[in-house]
Symmetry: C2
Subunit: 727 residues, 2 copies
C-alpha cells in the first residue's frame, strides 16, 4: 500500500471510477480521496471480486444486450440485424447495366439478405427520372452480388438492397482500430423483433444476473439497434449518423409497420436518395412514423429487460450511444422503460446537456480525458485536458446538473500522474458542492430561448450533430449556438414547427432559427406554409425576439424572397436574381448594444455570402466584402438579430448573450449577475441567496462582476476556478 | 496652326474621332496623323460645318429617336413610355393595409398610369400565398398614390402598377450626374407602339435629314425602348438591367400580344416577383414570347426609320446601348432592320465581341479612355489607360475584328497630351494593319467551345452581365470565362438547352456550363429533364469535353445529387444532407496537364464551398479548406474539368486554355502557336502563313514562342506590343 499521506474527500459519493486487478490499495486510496461510491470495469480490464465486495461501493457492469451471442446467431441466421443500403450511383451507358451493389461495402460486415424475395424487398431506381424500375426489368445474380438491369442509356441507377449486418459495427470498429487478434470472433448483432432472439435475450440477461451477484448496476450498452455505422470496402467508416435508423430494418418490422400504420414502407423511405434520413433532412412523414413505430417497440422491449434487472434487485442504467437507436431518450416513451439512469460521454456543454436534460432518475457523465496512453504518457500533463473538459462542461452542469460524474480507462495508468489525481480530487469535491447547491434551486434565467427546427423537443441539444463529438464543416458554425446556450443563464427549449402552428408559448422570449438552407434546422419548405410565417411574424411583431443564424427561413419558392422572414430580420440573401436592384444600405451603425463588448473581428465560421440589408431601417452591425454578416432590426414591438454564423468561442457566447438580451428587450438585465470579462460567467440561485462566478478559461482573470442588483465589484479568479458569493 | 512636324498615318481610314469648334487646324493634323475618315460630335460639342465639309471625311450625327419631343409628348400624354413596377414588400399587421406604392420611386420620373383602369392593369399580390388579391379587395387612392388593401395580418403584399416614364432615364442620369441647369426640360420618352408617335417619329427624322445635309451617317442612340433603368426617391439608380424589358410595356402592347399569342400577359410576367426577368432568371415562356413579340415590333419599326435614312442617301448605324431594348442584336430579326452598322463602347474583350459578333455590315468600337477631364488632367498619363484598354480588347479583335475604332469626348482636351496622341496614332496604324490581315483569313482555332445556358445564341457574350461594363459580386467569378475566351484561339459558340435537345452539334469539342445554382446560366430545373442530362452525358461519354464552373448543373430535386452531372465531373457539392457519408477522396494529384503552368494559388473569385470528389477516380487538382476547388475526370472517352470560379486574369485565361485542350484531348496541340509566358498570346493565320505574338501586358516580356509546328524560339516583345512572324 502506498505510504504517502493524502487528504480525504471533503464529501463523498456521486463519483464513478474504473478499477482493475492488482490495484487494490490504490483503489482504496482513490475511493477515500475522491469519495468514490461506484467502481466499474473498463474495456480490457476486469474488476476483481475483492473490490466488488467493498462496503458502500456499488459496481457497474457493462452489458452488451444484443451482440456477441454468436452461437445463437448462427442457429438463427435470419434474426441477425439488417440494413437497407444503397449501391453507388451507376450511369448506364447501354441498355444493359450491371451494378455490383456490394462493391463499396465491407463484405465481412454486410451480406445481402437472400432469405427474402429480392423482388419484394429490394428496389432498383432510375435516379434520373426518380422512377422505380419494374421488377421484371432486373435480376440479381446472387452468386456474384450483381444486379443486371435493363436500362436507359445515360440514366443513373441505384440498387436499394436489404442486407444482414454480420459484424456489429462498434465491435468491428474497436477490432480494426485496436488491431485485435484475428482469432476473436466477430460479434454478430441480433434483432429482438424476431421472437427467438427476443426470448433468448431476456433469458440470457436473467442468467447473467444469476451468475453475477456482485453486480449492483447493469449498464446497458445499449439495448438493441446500433446507430448508423457502416464501413466501406477498406474497412473504413463509410457512413456514420448518430441518429440513423438504417440498422433497424427487417421484413418483419416493415410488415408490422404496415399493419399498424395502414401503409407500406418502401426501401426508399430508409434509403432516402442515399441520405439515409440524416438529421439534416427535413424528416418525411414515413420516417417520422417509422421512428415512432420503432421507438414504441424498443422502449417496450427495453422495459422487459429493465424489469428483469429490477427483479434481481439490481439497478439498470443505459449508456447513451452505440445501440441506443429507437430509445429516443428525449421522447415521450423513454420514461416507460423504467431505467434508473443514463450515463454518457461528456466532451463539452452540449454533450453534457444531451444527458442531463433526459428525464430519468439519475444522469451520469463520463468525463475526459480517458485514462489511455494517448493522453497519459510521460511528459504530458493530462490536467490540461481535464481542466479544459471540466470548464466546458461545468457551465452546462450548473444550468442542468448531472447526478454523477465518472471517468473511464486504465486507472492504474492515470494513478501515476499525481498532479492529475490531485486535480480530479478537487473536481470531485467541486462537483458535489455544486450538485448540492444547484439541485436545491433553479438557476436564474434571464430569458426563455427556443430553438426552432423540424425536430423540436424530440431531439434536445442534438441540432447539427452528425456523429457525436465530431467536428463537421457544415455544423460547427451553428453548434456554437447550442454550446453557448448549454451554459448560459437562459432557459432553453427546443420547439418544432407544429409548436409554432399550435400557438407559440407566451413564456418564450426569443426564437432562434439557424442552419443552412433547406435543412431540418432552418426549415426549408415549411416556410411556404402561411400559418407558420404568419405566426412567427406575429410573435415578433407583438414584442418577441428573433435570432436568425446562417440561412434562417431560407426557401426560394417564387415570392421574391429567399429568407422568408426577411421582413422580420431586415436582411435577405442575394442568390443572383436581384443583382440589378441596387443595394444602398451598407453602412454599419456606429455602436450597438449587441456588439459593445467586441474587441476583435467576429468569427462567423463558414459564414454566409451575399446577405444584404433590405431596408434603411436595418441596423447593420457588420459589413465587409460587400455583405452583411450581422444586423439587428426592429419589427413592430419586437426585435431581431441576424448573424452569418456562430462557431463556439467565449466571444461568440457573449455576443449571443447580448443579442438575446437585446431582442428580448432585456438590456437592463444584462449587468446583473454578470462579469465583464468574456471568460467569466455568473450563475445565480436566488432562493439560496448565492451566486457563483466561474472562470471558463485556464487563465487567472481579474474582472468586474455585478451582483443581482447590478452592483459591480472587482473579482480575481484563478484558472478554471469557481467562487461562490452570498447575497 | 500647329507648326510642329508630324508623321502622317501609314495607312488611312477606319478611324472615328470627335471634334469641335475652334479646333480646325488640329483636326486636320489629327486626320492626317491617325488616318481619320469619320468625324463626329460629342455630348456638349458641336461639329462646325467647315469640318463637316471636308473631302473624304464622313460625318456621324447622333440621333435620339424617341425622346426629347416634349411638345408632342405633352399633346399625347398617353403615348409616353411605361413601366410595370412593383411596390416594396409590405407586411400587413392588420386587416387593412396601405401601400404607398410610389414611395420608393422618383416622382419626377415615375407617374402612375391612371388613364387605364387600375383594376384591369394593376395587380395586388399576397406574396405569402402567391395569390392575386381580388380586385374588389383593394382600392387606389389616386390623389395620394396609396393602395388600400383588405389584408390577412402578417402576410406580405406588393402592388404591381403601370406607370408612365416622364423623364428619359439616360437623360435623367446625365442631368443629375452632371448637375445640369434646372431650366433644361426633362426629356420625355415616347412609345412608338402608339400611332401618333410612330408617325411623328418618322416624319421628324425625315425633316431632320432634310435639315442636316452635311450629315453622312445617322447614329441612332438607339431606337425606342430604354433598357431597365429606374431611379429611387433620392434620384439614385434603383434598378438597372441592360437586358431588361421593364420600360417597354403598355396596354396596347399587352392587347396586341394577346391577339398574336392567344393568351393574356399579366403584370407579374414583367414584375417577376420583383426580379423583373433579370438575365440571371431562367426565362419563363411568357417572357420569352414577350421578347419575341417586342423584337418583331422594334425591328420592323426600326427598319422604317433606317429606310428613311437610306432614302436620303445617308447611312444608318446604331449605338449598342441606351434605347436598344427589343433590338436583340444577336437575334434572328436584327438583320431585317437593314442597318449599315453598329457602334458600341469597348471596355475589354467581352464588350468588343458583344459588338463584333453582331451580324451587320460594319462594326465600330468606341475605345477608352473618354477624352474627359477625369482622365485628361495635368500629371496623369492617359496612355496607360489607353494601352490597358487596347491590349484587353486587341486579343478579342484578332479573333473577330471590328471594322472601325473611334474615341469620344473633347478632342481639344486630349490633343494637349502629345504622348497620348502619339500612342493613338500607333494604335490607329496597328488596328488597320490588323484589320487588313485578320479579315483576309480566319484565325486558327484549336477547338470549338460552346457556352451552354438558357439564353444561347440569342444573347452572345452577354452571360453574367447585369449593367454593361460594371463589376458585380455574383458575376465576376464567371465573367473570366467569357473574357478569357473573347481573345483565345478557340471558336466560341453560345448554345441553349434546346440546342442540346435537338442534338449537340458534332463540331463542338467542349461544352461549358457555368454559374450559380438555379440561374439561367447554370440552368436550374432544366436538369430535371432526362433528355438534357442524357444528351450531355452521352456527348461527354463519346469523347466530348465538359467544363463546369461554380455550380454547374446544380439542381436539388430529389435524386441524391446536387450537381446533376456529378457523374460527369466526378464532384458534387455537399449541401448538408450527406455529411454522414465520409468523404475520403481528398488527395491532390501530384501534377496535371491543366495546372502545369501554375506558379501561384489559383484565384477562384467568390469560389464555392463544400465541393467534394465523389470517386477515387476523380483527379483532384486543388483541395483546401476541406473542399475541392478544381478537378478533372475521365468519363467514357470524354473528359471533364471542374473549377469553383474563374475571375478574369492572365493566369486564369491560361488555366482555361489548358483545361480546354485537356478535355478536348488536344494536349498535343497546345504548344503550337503558343507562348510560354501567360502575358503573351499567339494568333495564327494559316492561309496567310503568318502569326502574331501579342503582349497583353504593359511589361516588356521575353518568352519562348512556338510556331505552328511546335518549334520554339525566344521572342522579346515590348510593353503592349504585337509582332508578326511569317511561316
Amino acid at each position: 500500500m502506498s505510504e504517502k499521506k493524502y487528504k480525504k474527500a471533503k464529501t463523498t459519493g456521486r463519483i464513478t471510477l474504473p478499477s482493475e486487478e492488482n490495484f487494490y490499495d490504490e483503489t482504496i486510496e482513490l475511493i477515500e480521496r475522491l469519495g468514490v461510491d461506484v467502481l466499474r470495469d473498463s474495456d480490457g480490464t476486469k474488476l476483481p471480486d475483492e473490490l466488488k465486495k467493498l462496503d458502500e461501493i456499488s459496481v457497474y457492469t457493462k452489458y452488451l444486450t444484443a451482440r456477441g451471442h454468436n452461437d445463437f446467431a448462427k442457429e438463427h441466421p435470419t434474426e441477425v440485424t439488417r440494413f437497407y443500403l444503397m449501391s453507388e450511383f451507376v450511369t448506364a451507358t447501354s441498355e444493359e447495366t450491371q451494378i455490383k451493389f456490394m462493391e463499396e461495402y465491407f463484405d465481412q460486415q454486410i451480406k445481402p439478405d437472400y432469405d427474402h424475395d429480392v423482388k419484394e424487398w429490394w428496389e432498383v431506381i432510375d435516379r434520373t427520372t426518380g422512377e422505380v424500375v419494374d421488377i421484371n426489368d432486373w435480376e440479381i445474380d446472387k452468386e456474384n452480388n450483381i444486379a443486371n438491369i435493363k436500362t436507359i442509356p445515360f440514366h443513373e441507377y441505384t440498387v436499394s438492397f436489404l442486407a444482414y449486418c454480420y459484424w456489429d459495427p462498434v465491435h468491428m470498429y474497436n477490432y480494426i482500430t485496436n488491431d485485435w487478434d484475428p482469432s476473436i470472433p466477430h460479434a454478430i448483432p441480433l434483432d429482438p423483433r424476431y421472437d427467438a432472439t427476443a426470448e433468448f435475450l431476456e433469458k440470457y440477461l436473467d442468467e447473467f444476473l444469476e451468475k453475477n451477484p456482485l453486480t449492483d448496476v447493469i449498464r446497458f450498452t445499449t439495448f438493441f439497434y446500433q446507430f448508423s455505422l457502416i464501413f466501406n470496402k477498406h474497412g473504413l467508416e463509410k457512413h456514420v449518423e448518430w441518429f440513423g435508423y438504417t440498422n433497424t430494418v427487417s421484413p418483419k418490422a416493415f410488415k408490422e409497420f404496415e399493419k399498424e400504420y395502414g401503409y407500406k414502407l418502401r426501401p426508399e423511405d430508409i434509403i432516402d436518395e442515399g441520405y439515409y434520413n440524416s438529421i439534416f433532412r427535413v424528416p418525411s412523414k414515413a420516417f417520422r412514423d417509422y421512428i415512432e413505430f420503432q421507438n414504441k417497440f424498443v422502449t417496450e422491449k427495453a422495459k422487459r429487460l429493465v424489469d428483469i434487472v429490477h427483479k434481481h434487485g439490481k439497478k439498470a442504467i443505459m449508456f447513451l450511444g452505440d445501440h441506443y437507436t429507437g430509445v429516443e431518450p428525449w421522447g415521450k416513451n423513454f420514461a416507460n422503460i423504467g431505467l434508473d439512469g443514463v450515463v454518457g460521454s461528456v466532451g463539452d456543454g452540449v454533450t453534457l446537456r444531451l444527458i442531463s436534460d433526459i428525464d430519468t432518475p439519475m444522469t451520469e457523465g463520463r468525463f475526459l480525458p480517458y485514462f489511455f496512453p494517448d493522453t497519459f504518457y510521460e511528459g504530458n500533463d493530462p490536467t490540461i485536458e481535464g481542466k479544459d473538459n471540466w470548464v466546458k462542461a461545468r457551465r452546462a452542469l450548473i444550468r442542468k446538473p448531472l447526478d454523477r460524474i465518472g471517468y473511464g480507462g486504465y486507472m492504474a495508468l492515470a494513478y501515476k500522474f499525481t498532479k492529475f489525481i490531485d486535480y480530479i480530487q478537487k473536481v470531485a469535491d467541486e462537483f458535489r458542492d455544486l450538485h448540492d447547491i444547484v439541485t436545491k434551486d433553479k438557476p436564474v434565467a434571464k430569458a426563455t430561448v427556443a430553438i426552432l427546427n423540424h425536430w423540436g423537443a424530440q431531439r434536445k441539444w442534438t441540432p447539427w450533430i452528425v456523429a457525436h463529438g465530431k467536428w463537421y464543416k457544415l455544423s460547427y458554425s451553428y453548434m456554437g449556438i447550442t454550446e453557448a446556450l448549454s451554459g448560459m443563464d437562459m432557459d432553453v427549449r427546443f420547439i418544432n414547427f407544429e409548436d409554432v402552428r399550435n400557438g407559440i408559448d407566451p413564456d418564450i422570449d426569443v426564437i432562434i432559427n439557424a442552419g443552412d438552407a433547406y435543412t431540418a434546422f432552418s426549415g426549408g419548405a415549411i416556410f411556404e406554409d402561411e400559418e407558420i410565417v404568419t405566426k412567427l411574424r406575429e410573435f415578433v411583431y407583438n414584442g418577441g425576439g428573433f435570432i436568425g443564424v446562417g440561412e434562417p427561413s431560407a426557401h426560394h419558392y417564387g415570392n421574391g424572397r429567399y429568407f422568408q422572414l426577411a421582413d422580420v430580420m431586415g436582411v435577405d440573401k442575394e442568390i443572383g436574381f436581384s443583382q440589378s436592384t441596387n443595394k444602398y444600405f451598407v453602412d454599419e451603425v456606429e455602436s450597438h448594444f449587441i456588439t459593445e463588448d467586441l474587441t476583435k473581428d467576429v468569427d462567423f465560421g463558414e459564414s454566409q455570402k451575399n446577405v444584404y440589408s433590405i431596408s434603411e431601417n436595418t441596423e447593420i452591425l457588420e459589413y465587409s466584402n460587400h455583405e452583411v454578416h450581422m444586423a439587428a432590426n426592429d419589427y413592430g414591438k419586437g426585435r431581431s438579430f441576424y448573424i452569418a454564423g456562430l462557431p463556439y468561442s467565449q466571444e461568440n457566447t457573449r455576443l449571443l448573450k447580448r443579442a438575446i438580451h437585446y431582442v428580448a428587450h432585456k438590456e437592463d438585465e444584462l449587468k446583473k449577475y454578470y462579469a465583464e470579462d468574456v471568460r467569466v460567467e455568473v450563475a445565480a440561485f436566488k432562493n439560496l441567496k448565492k451566486y457563483c462566478v466561474i472562470n471558463n478559461s485556464l487563465d487567472d482573470v481579474t474582472t468586474t462582476v455585478y451582483d443581482g442588483k447590478g452592483n459591480p465589484k472587482e473579482v480575481t479568479i484563478e484558472s478554471a476556478d469557481l467562487i461562490w458569493f452570498e447575497e
